[in-house]
């Protein structure tokens, strides 16, 4: 029943394209066909904005809220964050497999957004309610509540996040459109991530630095608007690519990474891009310990964020000039060269913070490009897999992409802490409220190296797996051409079946009508024959007739 509904939905979307293509469109024209409408861009970006706003709120402010506003020991919070990361390693791929096994009248992604958005928003608000914690009294109860709500939040984050990431892959088969929607939504996402910063500044101003209530108000605004935007996104964006008839088994879902070699190469390359994250993570160290001015953080972070957005904006345009693989390599080299130049300028004495901040702008543009391109490449690997096997696994693909991002973040933290130790970084004493120990010259040098030259050099490693990645421009064009033809043929088959079925019905109806007509004629003829026979018998039964009646009888007989 569900499949029928889905086929109807597909026919609705595919049939108009079919009519146009029958008007003589080539495969290339077919591949370039536009599917997305402005509402798709607007509402998907809103959903992405909501998702990033909640993520930005939780990642940026929850630790401070737990430790400072609620008074939970930092070590307890740290342990919980660590466990939740391990937990994500399980729940993300599981969610991916669930998405891939889902078939519904709304598609395979959207149902999770419809049903997950509101609980996700409610939980976000609950986590930031100081009243709940103060009512609990004991630290044990607070810690227990923190564990339960945060792990639930992690699960719901996967329930909503994985399908949301997968939506562009099924919204349109057109690569340029996918690039555009990923690019626009990521820009909105970057802005969304900062919405908590804007709100907390505003609420602290209004409440005269009342932190607990400011956090609660911030969570209320984001926790209410987030699900609304998410639901709007789920309602208005369409899943235009038909899910494959066969649903992959759970084991197949987990094996997918190793079967789809192109996807495996992409994941490996992306895992190695975590060095890039040193740049933003090191800003706080650079401003606090090299420039001794923590308030410079915004001066360093803002140009980088704007540059990154510009990068995301120009990514689709650059994508038209070169294929994803070339663009990935180009952007990585650009980023590395820019960071190396900053490092050498610093070495020869260009240590002014404003100079470094300005130069970072140029270095962060390619980061925006690199935020978009891997997602686009992931959709390419989906097309490649569909072309090769007939299966599409958006759920598992984007869950692994999400997991990759979390694992990368873990690697980043680990390698960064190792490098900090290596350069003799003096850790702030955990029992001091605001401890910024002075660092040695050697350590300052090391901090700047982790900020610039080390990611510049190590980033280049991420290019190596991509060199074996085969889905370049020509190959992808061929795959997409074949898929377009396949989808057209599928649609034609669907139409053909419908026409055939209609023809069959007409012929049956016509046959029935003929039979009925014949039967009617036969009946009429039979009746007439019976009537004639009756009359003839009556005439034979009346031998003496008047001349008048005889004449009438003769006339009837002639007739």
């Amino acid at each position: 029943m569900e499949e029928n509904i889905q086929q109807e939905g597909l026919a609705e979307e595919v049939m108009p394209i079919q009519e146009e293509t029958s008007g003589g469109m080539s495969d290339e024209e077919l591949a370039n066909k536009k599917y997305l409408k402005p509402r798709d861009y607007v509402f998907f970006s809103l959903a992405q904005f909501a998702s990033s706003a909640v993520t930005g709120l939780v990642q940026g402010y929850l630790l401070f809220f737990y430790t400072v506003c609620v008074g939970i020991p930092a070590t307890q919070v740290g342990v919980m964050f660590l466990v939740s990361k391990v937990f994500d390693g399980l729940d993300d791929p599981t969610m991916g497999v669930i998405v891939d096994k889902t078939r519904s009248k709304w598609g395979k992604m959207r149902p999770f957004l419809f049903f997950g958005a509101i609980p996700w928003g409610v939980l976000t608000i609950i986590m930031f309610m100081p009243g709940i914690y103060s009512a609990m009294g004991s630290t044990t109860a607070k810690v227990a509540f923190m564990w339960i709500t945060y792990l639930l939040y992690s699960i719901l984050g996967s329930v909503v996040g994985i399908p949301l990431q997968g939506l562009p892959a099924v919204a349109s088969p057109n690569t340029d459109e996918r690039a555009k929607i990923i690019s626009i939504s990521r820009i909105l996402g970057s802005i969304g991530e900062q919405s908590a910063l804007v709100l907390i500044t505003l609420f602290l101003l209004i409440t005269n630095n009342d932190y607990p209530n400011s956090y609660m108000l911030m969570a209320l605004v984001i926790g209410v608007l987030g699900p609304i935007f998410m639901l709007l996104g789920a309602k208005f964006i369409k899943e235009r690519l038909e899910p494959t008839d066969r649903t992959p088994s759970t084991l197949e879902g987990f094996k997918y990474l190793f079967k789809n070699k192109q996807f495996l190469l992409l994941i490996c390359s992306n895992l190695l891009t975590f060095f890039r994250n040193f740049v933003s993570a090191m800003i706080i160290y650079v401003v606090s310990y090299i420039y001794n001015n923590g308030s410079l953080q915004i001066i360093f972070a803002l140009p980088g964020a704007i540059a990154s957005m510009i990068g995301m904006m120009i990514a689709p345009k650059l994508r038209k000039m070169m294929d994803s693989k070339k663009l990935f390599v180009f952007a990585t080299i650009w980023h590395s060269v820019a960071l190396a130049v900053i490092f050498f300028i610093y070495l020869i004495g260009g240590t002014w913070w404003w100079l470094i901040a300005i130069m970072m702008f140029a270095a962060m543009i390619p980061v925006g490009i690199l935020n978009v391109i891997p997602h686009l490449m992931a959709t390419d690997t989906l097309d490649y897999w569909e072309d090769k096997t007939g299966d599409r696994c958006e759920g598992i693909t984007f869950s692994l992409m999400s997991l990759r991002s979390k694992v990368s973040s873990g690697f980043k933290d680990y390698v960064m802490s190792y490098l900090l130790v290596y350069f003799g970084f003096s850790q702030a004493l955990p029992f001091l409220s605001d401890h910024t120990p002075v660092q040695s010259d050697f350590t300052k040098f090391g901090l700047f190296a982790i900020y610039t030259i080390i990611p510049a050099v190590l980033n280049l490693v991420s290019i190596v797996p991509i060199l074996f990645y085969k889905l370049s421009g020509k190959k992808m064009a061929e795959i997409q051409g074949r898929l377009a033809v396949k989808r057209l043929e599928d649609a034609k088959k669907l139409e053909g079946m419908a026409v055939e079925a209609e023809t069959d019905i007409y012929s049956v109806v016509a046959e029935q009508a003929v039979v009925e007509d014949i039967e009617k004629e036969v009946e009429t003829a039979k009746n007439m024959a019976e009537a004639t026979v009756t009359e003839v018998s009556e005439v034979e039964a009346k031998p003496k007739r008047t001349s008048k009646s005889k004449k009438a009888a003769d006339e009837k007989e002639d007739k």
Binding site: C69, P130, Y291, L347, G424, S433, D441
Partner: protein, 306 residues
């Protein structure tokens, strides 16, 4: 059948992991003892190495320009009590700053030619300490020709400060061994503006903790008195601040070229930390003890050999 096999294998694996973990587990006390034993050995080894290096430094002619800074709050920071918060509203930070030229002309004799002292804001200080040519940046307020012999100061410096004596005091092996908490000596790749490679980085950190009467609290004292000053060990040693009044953290970092056994630079940082009463958190307004840095010193000496 397969499911049963997987279940059995999983259970066996789990038992193996648990058994390994159990065997690998040491009691907290054992771990603490191991930590201090290893650390003491490392401190002894490094202080020996450091002393021999410094002996070589003072046996060679060298020149150096360096700075010393002492940062503190303009008003005295007080501990407070459970009824009144300790940290004052007006806690403006100030820095006293000194720059030195040292011309060490002969073994066992050194001459300090110039002394410049000026109080500057932290911002100016930061600007200056980031520059390698410290001396050119300062206005000279007071200049003294100064000479000492045999390592003993013959004139009066600001607040009795003698930088060379200070360095020597901070590399005293006994002092470090007695107070030493951590020590490291790792091979480093150090690129600086002259692109030197293969320098060595050595660091010794010491920590001194004082009780309410100003007596030094040592680990042995703590064990003997049965007071619970230490609730942890390792890098994140935490204290019961009800029993601890203040703490000093000292750090000595040495960069040296491995082949030539020459010290390239010595950096010394000392922090004075005080415990004071403040709000527990934003929800619970009760006053609790926390600690913060109330003063710190830093000094960077770079050696230029003839």
């Amino acid at each position: 059948m397969k499911k049963k096999l997987i279940l059995i294998v999983s259970l066996v694996l789990m038992v193996c992991i648990l058994a390994t973990a159990f065997v690998g587990c040491k009691s907290a006390e054992e771990k603490e003892n191991d930590y201090y034993a290893e650390n003491t050995a490392a401190v002894k080894e490094n202080t020996q190495k450091l002393t021999s290096l410094m002996d070589k430094v003072f046996a060679t002619n060298w020149k150096s320009s360096f700075v010393y800074a002492y940062t503190y709050y303009s008003k005295e920071i007080v501990r407070g009590s459970t009824q009144s918060a300790g940290w004052p509203e007006d806690n403006e930070e100030r820095t006293k700053f000194m720059a030195f030229d040292v011309d060490y002309t002969d073994a066992e004799n050194y001459t300090i030619k110039t002394i410049v002292f000026k109080e500057v804001s932290r911002e100016d200080y930061v600007k200056n300490i980031d520059s390698k040519k410290y001396r050119e940046k300062f206005e000279q307020e007071k200049t003294l020709e100064y000479a000492v012999s045999q390592g003993v100061a013959s004139g009066e410096l600001y607040e009795g400060f003698n930088p060379i004596a200070y360095i020597l005091a901070n590399i005293n092996a006994e002092y470090i061994t007695a107070n030493g908490l951590t020590a490291s000596d790792n091979f480093r790749l150090y690129l600086n503006d002259s692109f030197k490679l293969s320098n060595h980085f050595m660091r010794i950190e010491t920590r001194a903790v004082y009780d309410g009467e100003g007596n030094t609290v040592t680990r042995d004292d703590n064990v003997a008195s049965g007071k619970k000053y230490w609730s942890g060990y390792g890098e994140d040693i935490s204290y019961n601040w009800n029993n601890v009044y203040s703490m000093d953290n000292n750090r000595l970092t040495v960069l040296y070229t491995k082949g030539s056994q020459k010290v390239d630079s010595v950096e010394i940082y000392n922090e004075n930390i005080l415990a004071y009463y403040t709000e527990n958190n934003k929800v619970d307004k009760s006053l609790v003890l926390k600690a913060d840095v109330v003063a710190f010193e830093e000094m960077v000496v770079e050696f230029d050999y003839e």
